[in-house]
Chain length 126, copies 2
């Protein structure tokens, strides 16, 4: 039953983070966009459209569109691979770093608030 507790705790941290993320006015990314952004920033390069499509198991146009959006937001940058000019390398930006840094702080704060603050605590039935 230690597992049970851990899952509920994990979900509650997730809840606090998601609620905080929705509340702030920052651009709310879709799950795909967020997964892509995190992968580019926390996983060793190179990152190509093809590779990300395979990793996330989505179509290449979906990756292209996510990159379009993240590019508009300045959180990612495209660079043509000089060794194979068909490929596009997705690269990090300062703005994206700041965004993820803040998001990390959001999660850590949510985890610290665990079992305190809003009085929910025990999730009751179910």
């Amino acid at each position: 039953m230690g597992f049970e507790l851990t899952e509920l705790e994990a979900l509650d941290v997730w809840r606090r983070t998601m609620v905080a993320g929705v509340r702030r006015d920052a651009p709310d990314l879709s799950a795909r966009q967020m997964a892509l952004l995190l992968t580019v920033y926390l996983t060793p390069p190179p990152h190509t459209v093809r590779g990300l499509a395979e990793l996330l198991m989505v179509s290449k146009p979906a990756v292209t569109r996510a990159c379009d959006r993240l590019g508009e937001l300045g959180m990612i940058r495209r660079k043509i691979d000089d060794e194979d000019r068909r490929s596009v390398l997705l690269q990090r930006t300062v703005k994206g770093s700041v965004f993820l840094r803040e998001y990390g702080e959001l999660i850590v704060a949510a985890a610290k608030g665990e079992a305190a603050a809003d009085g929910s605590g025990l999730p009751g039935r179910y």
Copy 2:
């Protein structure tokens, strides 16, 4: 610098969970939908449209739409409040419980895989 490490670890758990969530075929909920669902399930009732709109700082129509979608998916149920028939109470369902249970397992698995598995490990620069 212990904080730095903690934030990166948190982001990496987030990344693993998001990637796993995108990869599976399960319905991918928007951030608002997920925040709403988690709030209904992990926070003490009653939950009304008005209350959720205030908590999440979004418009009431947005909450209505999220409830429509979650209702279609069978993850939430509407019930008219007998003591004030203007209000709608959002309630949990078995299907929603199963979904969140599985999502919790996803997070826990992502946390357990921390610093192992996919070889990313050190996030390098930034």
